[in-house]
């Protein structure tokens, strides 16, 4: 098969049209109106990503009641477990009102009271939420278009192009007609989301292709072992039950939440997932939820009820709920593995270790170091998903505006041609493995939570057998058409993410925050107050560790 080749130019290329990429595009045009900004999105910018399928809530800190340092102390001790970059977390909290004001200014519907103040729903002593309707990304795209941002939908990032260690642009392809694009850019911003392995329905847009492209380009990865988020879902409909961990019972009628939780916590923890596994293994399953009189906690129902006045999101929620209700005859639950690996390592300016390459949103949440020992949003911090993306976007735009754009790097056409040949190879093969066979193997490694969440050396070795087989087959994939070619491209990224997860998890010989190992059950501040950095060196996955500079931060063990 032969497809057209085209060369394009822009000042800044943004890969990914979810809330992170769109917020960056708007913000950089506000700061640098003459800059030529091009957004490529493999589906449709404004409808992609996760912000328009999630809870529709934004975390809110009342500046009269909560000082950034107060929330930082809570987060570092209970969620990040001393592994987070405290400078960045402080900055995130301090920018809360600015971020929400920006979204409102960009046309996002945020309810206000009769005095013009945001309607706030308190969720805890320090936290609160405000609503944002699920057309949030559509509104920000419209704003970006008004500011002159260019968009290319149905165009997938294939690879990043470098020139002597500096970004020179990217290769991309149309999933509709196969056109191969070589795009020269002075800076590239990855906003391609996290890795979710196509297991959870609403999380399925996160397929890690941007993470894989950054890895192949030599960018460092950090906290790859924290890409194992899971929460409880109903066994029949697979619908997630947010806060269901507060109401868990085993088949003998025992209230098992008390085995892992003594007081109310901010959100689900990996200990709830561990408890499900321990109960099931000891023959006390199935596990179910009980609500109502005599049972703790209303779960998420109060919050859900308050989301019903969202004009755009209401139909979406109603269809999902009424359809699930037809099959949910009971409240049996099991973990739904979600993933949320977000390891692209960035500094305080959101720049990766490849000069001129930036990464924002769920692509680099853990890689930024900000949250510490917890997977990407919600990351035990409900309402932080959308705002983390907006935060990273604003910080990235500010740093590019401050530093300016460098135009020294040039695209190497031989490098681009090698990318093209590698990309289209599955279409050229007469026979081979399907992308779905490879993805199924990755899912067998990642989804069982005793392999990926409550880990042990022997169970990780079992999982790695699947990954080894998936890696072997991923070099022999055959694609039937361009849709299938995209699946092959994503399958390759899933193999890499899973490999990184187990590679880094095997190295971290402790348990910390969300990260749980049965064979190393304790937090080890003496040896493991460190980040694990994973990097591609001449095709080999290598690692180093970097000490957490805890002595310069206010909250210490």
């Amino acid at each position: 098969m032969s497809f057209e080749k085209k060369s394009l130019n822009c000042d800044i290329l943004v890969a990914g049209g979810g809330i992170g990429g769109l917020s960056f595009a708007v913000s950089i045009k506000e700061r640098m109106p003459e800059t030529d900004v091009l957004v490529i999105e493999k589906q449709t910018a404004g409808y992609s990503g996760k912000a328009n399928k999630g809870g529709g809530v934004l975390q809110y800190f009342d500046p009269e009641k909560v000082q950034p340092i107060d929330f930082l102390k809570l987060h570092v001790k209970e969620i990040g477990c001393y592994l987070g970059d405290q400078d960045m977390m402080l900055r995130y909290v301090a920018m809360n009102k600015e971020m929400i004001d920006k979204l409102s200014e960009w046309g996002v519907s945020i309810p206000r009271d009769e005095n013009g103040r945001y309607r706030v729903m308190p969720t805890g002593p320090m936290t609160a939420m405000i609503r944002a309707d699920l057309d949030i990304t559509v509104q920000v795209r419209r704003r970006a278009e008004k500011l002159g941002v260019r968009f290319m939908d149905k165009t997938a990032l294939s690879d990043l192009l470098t020139d002597g260690g500096r970004i020179a642009g990217a290769a991309a392809f149309s999933i509709i007609d196969g056109t191969f694009y070589v795009i020269q850019a002075k800076a590239v911003v990855l906003a391609t989301g996290s890795q979710n392995y196509r297991i959870g329905s609403m999380w399925s847009s996160g397929r890690g292709d941007g993470i894989a492209a950054a890895y192949r380009a030599g960018a460092e990865m950090r906290n790859a072992e924290f890409g194992n988020f899971a929460q409880l879902a109903k066994v029949k409909s697979h619908h997630e039950v947010v806060f269901g961990e507060n109401n868990m019972y085993n088949a003998q009628g025992e209230f098992i939440t008390r085995n892992f939780r003594k007081t109310r916590e901010t959100d689900i923890s990996s200990t709830a997932i561990r408890e499900w596994y321990v109960q099931m293994k000891s023959g006390k399953g199935p596990i179910h939820l009980e609500f109502g009189e005599g049972h703790p906690g209303p779960g998420a129902s109060a919050l859900q009820d308050r989301l019903r006045d969202q004009s755009y999101g209401q139909r979406f929620r109603e269809f999902n709920e009424s359809s699930a209700a037809e099959v949910d005859t009971d409240l049996e639950v099991c973990p739904l593995f979600i993933g949320e690996q977000s390891p692209v390592c960035v500094g305080h300016d959101m720049q990766t270790t490849v000069a001129g390459l930036y990464a924002i949103g769920d692509c680099s949440y853990c890689g930024s170091g900000a949250p510490g020992a917890v997977p990407a949003p919600p990351g035990r911090n409900r309402g932080s998903g959308i705002l983390n993306a907006v935060f990273a976007a604003l910080v990235c735009a500010e740093s590019i505006a401050d530093s300016g754009l460098s135009d020294g790097a040039k695209v190497d056409m031989a490098q681009a041609e090698a990318c093209r040949e590698r990309l289209f190879a599955p279409l050229e093969r007469n026979e081979g493995t399907s992308a779905k066979e490879v993805i199924a193997l990755v899912q067998k490694a990642m989804a069982p939570v005793e392999q990926s969440v409550f880990m042990s050396k022997d169970r990780m070795e079992l999982a790695m057998q699947y990954i080894k087989k998936a890696r072997e087959l991923s070099g022999k994939m055959k694609a039937e058409d361009l849709h299938d070619l995209l699946s092959c491209h994503e399958a390759e990224a899933m193999v890499l993410s899973a490999e990184m997860h187990f590679f880094a998890s095997d190295i971290r010989k402790e348990s910390r925050g969300w990260f749980l190992r049965e064979d190393y059950p304790d937090m080890d501040n003496e040896n493991w107050l460190k980040w694990i950095i994973v990097k591609n060196v001449n095709g080999e996955m290598t690692y180093t560790t970097r000490d957490i500079p805890i002595e310069k931060w206010p909250v210490r063990p």
Binding site: Q43, T44, G46, Y47, S48, G49, K53, D153, I175, I176, R198, I199, S201, M202, S204, S205, A233, V235, K236, S237, H238, M280, K281, S282, G283, G285, R315, F316, F319, N320, S323, A324, V327, C334, P335, L336, F337, K436, I439, A440, Q443, K444, A447, P448, V449, E450, H483, L486
Partner: protein, 81 residues
């Protein structure tokens, strides 16, 4: 999810060709036929039952019928007692 058996019912007589369902599908299940000005539900085995296409269609021309039994959460129940 992969290899799901969800079904999508489409009522072409109600469709006004606005393309919103095509745009809303974030997993490339729906393609667009520019001549007919109608969606083509081409890769239904990749459907995630998200209901986005149905929710954005103001003419009620689409109905998603999930088959939840075709989705697999892959928790290893068989390994447990």
């Amino acid at each position: 999810m992969i290899n799901t058996a969800h079904r999508i019912e489409f009522f072409p007589e109600k469709c006004v060709g606005c393309q919103l369902c095509y745009k809303a599908c974030f997993v490339d299940v729906i393609r667009w036929d520019p001549e007919a000005k109608k969606p083509v539900f081409k890769y239904v085995s990749d459907c995630e039952h998200c209901f986005c296409c149905q929710a954005v269609c103001r003419k009620d021309a689409i109905r998603v019928i999930p088959d939840y039994s075709s989705e697999h959460l892959l928790q290893s129940f068989e390994r447990y007692a």
